[in-house]
């Protein structure tokens, strides 16, 4: 057994592979350091950071995960999730108009947004099929364009062509939707998913770690009987992570820190986990293999008889639907819909987040999405305070995080373009891990 490990270490963990790992994960590593420094200098109480971070992660992660499938299909980072978000907001407005609240209201939002998002996704995809090789900028401009149409509909058609009489939604003169809509009034949608079930975070973590450990041991024994014994090191590493989580959780729970009372919205978390599972299960199907083939080489896919355009359409439609749902999850947590503002930045922020997690234009995984969201929102929470403490100016922290959002996208796109021009055929893999 020890020999096995040694061999494996030699095979997979030589200095050169470690070096490559460092280079490949330079972005997340750098930002882990930046975040830790930010946390240190912000001098914010841990309970505040953990609580806020948790809320932001559960709020935003679904949207970020919606980005993965287009990456696999070779469409790059889908700036068009803004359009999906608009579909979600249309649905929210309708449900608000009907005045249905609570979990039924939430589900109705999902139900209404799905066909709208499918239609929007199809239109976006058609456009992207017409602009092959320029998909990302097309989806970005399409987002701007759609925003114009969205505003036109809500500002000028509502109350004129679309006869809606509703004092809560429509402006006083009867034309146009209000700028902000309080989701908790007239059928409460606020926290309609989050508040279904909330449990203390660290209890949940401890339980999850124990279950994972048990599952791993069982899995190892079953696999051992089979021919292919999986990598011992990988098992060891995973087990270590689980143990670390378990120990930390127990430590927190036994301490008197207020952190132990932080609560996790269970249903929301399960929905997000469901999307993670979907993202990896889809790859195990024929459709997933087609998505990968198209993503790797459209030409080969085409001559092998795969309907390339249709496959790309499916990828974008899926992504758009998830974006719509993600936006609904986002809004039920925020509680206030800024009709003309809530969706505008979500593509930029979500894409920046997944890139911070180490994803690139041609490779994105669930893990990168999760890590990225944690880093991005940590940065968001601590940077104003840290800016204030370091520079005596809170603004600088705010500007810094805006710069990080744009800058990381710029650098990622630039690197991708650079590799494309330099490397020619040397493409990176596009596999969702685990």
């Amino acid at each position: 057994m020890l020999n096995n490990i040694k061999q494996e270490v030699k095979k997979y963990y030589s200095p050169s592979t470690i070096k490559r790992f460092m280079v490949d994960s330079s972005v997340p590593l750098l930002f882990i350091v930046v975040c830790l420094l930010g946390v240190y200098y912000s001098k914010l109480p841990a309970v505040f950071i953990v609580d806020t971070l948790l809320e932001r992660i559960t709020r935003n992660l679904f949207l970020v995960l919606a980005l993965i499938i287009p990456v696999i299909a070779g469409l790059g980072l889908n700036f068009g999730i803004v359009i999906g978000a608009m579909a979600g907001q249309f649905a929210i407005l309708m449900v608000k108009h009907f005045g249905i609240g609570g979990f039924p209201g939430f589900m109705l939002c999902i139900a209404i947004s799905t066909p709208i998002a499918m239609l929007f996704g199809l239109m976006t995809a058609r456009l992207m099929n017409k602009t092959k090789g320029q998909e990302m900028i097309s989806s970005m401009i399409a987002g701007f364009f759609a925003n114009g149409v969205y505003q036109f509909i809500l500002l000028f058609l509502v109350g004129t062509l679309i006869p809606i009489k509703n004092d809560i939604l429509v402006l006083a003169n009867g034309v146009g939707v209000r700028n902000t809509i309080d989701l908790s009034r007239n059928g409460n949608l606020t926290y309609s998913l989050d508040n279904l079930l909330k449990l203390p975070l660290f209890q949940v973590l401890a339980a999850a770690a124990v279950i994972a450990l048990l599952a791993m041991v069982a899995d190892y024994h079953i696999k051992k009987r089979g021919k292919k014994a999986s990598s011992i090191i990988q098992y060891g590493f995973k087990a270590l992570v689980c143990l670390a989580v378990l120990v930390t959780s127990i430590a927190v729970l036994t301490s008197k820190s207020p952190v132990r009372n932080v609560k996790l919205p269970i249903v929301t978390t399960m929905v997000i986990a469901g999307l993670c599972i979907f993202n990896s299960i889809i790859l195990k199907t024929k459709l997933g293999q087609d998505l990968r083939t198209v993503g790797q080489d459209m030409h080969i896919a085409k001559i092998s008889g795969i309907n390339v355009d249709r496959t790309r359409e499916i990828a974008i439609i899926i992504s758009t639907i998830f974006a719509a749902w993600g936006q609904i999850i986002f809004m039920q947590n925020i509680g206030t819909l800024a009709t003309y503002g809530s969706h505008v930045q979500i593509a930029t922020f979500s894409i920046a987040a997944i890139l911070l997690g180490g994803a690139s234009v041609s490779r994105a995984t669930n893990g990168q999405a999760i890590l990225g969201v944690i880093l991005f929102h940590t940065l968001f929470i601590v940077s104003p305070k840290a800016g204030n403490n370091i520079f005596g100016e809170a603004q600088i922290g705010e500007f810094f995080r805006a710069f990080v959002a744009y800058g990381v996208i710029g650098v990622a796109l630039g690197l991708h373009a650079w590799r494309k021009t330099m490397g020619g055929r040397k493409k990176k893999t596009t596999v969702v891990s685990e």
């Binding site: 195990k284 199907t285 024929k286 293999q289 990968r292 080969i300 092998s304 008889g305 493409k427």
Partner: protein
């Protein structure tokens, strides 16, 4: 024992826009037979294969006449997918492999084995079925074993040696159920000699299993090594079908090249004995890194006032020579122009040294398609020699009137058919576009003119005009011309000497009236091997 014919193609004819490219071709491949299809570039091999695979280019240009039979049944192949379903497979020259996929995944692209699951049953969709990796791996293993490849099926393709990639392509084809006929398109072109031998052994193994093999190549020796029967095409016509035992390399060479030629260059400029004549260009150990047309070290002298032809098959490096001299692709070695050393990799320097270049890629390199004829003609000279500029105070501006007068003169001299010097070159016919390219080169007032593929994509009447023009420039202005062409007939009709390039080097130099078989052997790269000497 009489074996059944897997494939029969009968009386195939095909025309592109009234231009007949295949005339009454018939071909038959039996089960277990290795049949070689031999011919120069442009002989019609690829058109014939396009018909066999039902490529869209055939159907979008009006289809073809004649019939295709598989196992004695007439079939209609409308798309490559149809061909695949009928059991016809193709091993491509440029590999159709995805580097980041495993060997299994590549073998099974869009033919994945799947098992139904709960969701796929609910939606009744095959696409949602689960991939059966175990079954796919075992299929791949079987195909690889058939070829005697020990490599693990879950290895990623990226980083494998080229020879392996070829075998993976073959494995993919034989994994398709009911494969009857396998077409190899110049399979050895990118392989080393050892790899090529392995490949031929594998092909023979496949044939022994009863698969019909169609083997497209121009390597004569390989043909005799591998094939049972050989069909030779030339200019879209079936020249001959030979059994291996009844033919020889020399006969094949002759059949591949031979045709009536008309020598236009009757002055016989090279009768003065080449040694005493002044050299216009001396090339020493020139290497050019042009992708697909690499030059691997040549020595060549070009004499003043001659037309030197450079011939050879596509991909052998003939195109690279002119591009290297012009500094368009990275090159090393030594080039002397009139005894003066030329700095390589400096296009401007080459142009200033009095060399002008008419590129083989007329529309890509040779022309500004959305600019006027006059602009095209003048602009290089303006950049290189600062001509056609007029001073206005502090600024030097392009001299519109000078440009126009010059262009109009050349339009008259070269007989460029156009509506005026301001017409866009995109709207001109191929022949007239080529004349504009030549006019641009002439405007530089060069000592040496490099012309690559001057008649590619031009109709027959215009071809003659372009060749006449080159001859006239040579005779009347005494211009030294180096003409590179895939069309041997053309080279033999106007050149004084013809250099044949094979595998990036000079295979030999021949006078235009040399025998067909000599040209054929040189083009196939067999001349030195067979006769143990260089030509001339």
């Amino acid at each position: 024992m009489k074996k059944e014919a897997v494939l029969q193609m009968k009386n195939i004819e095909k025309a592109y826009y009234g231009n007949k490219v295949l005339k009454n071709i018939s071909l038959s491949v039996k089960a277990g037979e290795i049949h070689a299809l031999l011919g120069e570039n442009g002989a019609g091999k690829s058109t014939l294969m396009n018909i066999l695979f039902g490529m869209p280019v055939i159907h979008s240009t009006g289809g073809f006449s004649g019939e295709v039979r598989l196992n004695d049944e007439i079939v209609e192949i409308k798309s490559p997918f149809d061909a695949m379903k009928l059991g016809i497979g193709m091993v491509h020259q440029e590999f159709m492999l995805i580097p980041d996929f495993t060997i299994t995944e590549n073998i099974k692209v869009n033919r994945e084995t799947t098992t139904p699951n709960f969701i796929s049953r609910t939606f009744k969709s095959k696409r949602l079925e689960t991939l059966d990796h175990r079954a796919m791996d075992s299929d791949a293993r079987k195909a690889l074993d058939t070829l005697g490849m020990g490599i693990d099926e879950w290895t990623k393709v990226a980083g494998l040696p080229i020879g392996y990639m070829q075998f993976i392509e073959i494995a993919r084809e034989i994994d398709k159920s009911g494969i009857k006929l396998l077409v190899f398109d110049e399979p050895t072109a990118v392989l080393t000699e050892g790899e090529a031998d392995n490949l031929i052994a594998a092909i023979k193994g496949l044939a022994a299993k009863g698969i019909g093999i169609l083997f497209i190549t121009h390597r004569l020796e390989e043909v005799l090594q591998a094939a049972d029967n050989i069909t030779i095409l030339r200019d879209g016509e079936l020249v001959a079908t030979r059994k291996k035992k009844e033919t020889s390399v020399i006969e094949l060479a002759e059949l591949m090249v031979g045709r009536k030629i008309q020598i236009l260059n009757k002055s016989g400029a090279n009768n003065g004995g080449t040694d005493q004549r002044e050299k216009a260009i001396e090339i020493k150990n020139l290497e050019v890194k042009m992708p697909g047309e690499a030059v691997k070290g040549i020595d060549l002298d070009v004499y003043k006032g001659e037309i030197l032809g450079i011939g050879g098959l596509a991909g052998q490096g003939k195109i690279g020579i002119a591009n290297g001299i012009m500094g368009l692709y990275e090159s090393t070695g030594e080039v002397l122009i009139n005894g003066q050393n030329l700095v390589l990799n400096d296009t401007k320097g080459s142009l200033r040294a009095g060399i002008a270049f008419v590129s083989e890629d007329r529309r890509g390199v040779g022309l500004l398609l959305d600019a006027s004829i006059e602009y095209n003609i003048a602009v290089t000279t303006l950049q290189v020699k600062n001509k056609f500029l007029k001073r206005y105070g502090f600024f030097k501006q392009i001299d519109g009137r000078g440009v126009r007068q010059h262009a109009q003169q050349l339009i008259k001299d070269l007989d460029i058919r156009c509506s005026g010097s301001q017409q866009l070159t995109r709207q001109l016919s191929g022949g007239n576009q080529q004349k504009v390219c030549i006019a641009r080169a002439l405007t530089l007032e060069p000592n040496v003119l490099l012309v690559s593929e001057p008649t590619r994509g031009i109709d027959i009447g215009a071809k003659k005009l372009v060749l006449d023009l080159l001859l006239k420039l040579n005779k009347e202005l005494g211009m030294t011309i180096i003409m590179t062409s895939s069309e041997l007939v053309e080279l033999r009709s106007i050149c004084d000497r013809i250099v044949i390039i094979s595998d990036g080097g000079i295979e030999g130099i021949l006078p235009p009236e040399a025998e067909d078989r000599e040209f054929g052997l040189m083009m196939a790269g067999e001349y030195k091997k067979l006769l143990g000497k260089e030509g001339m």
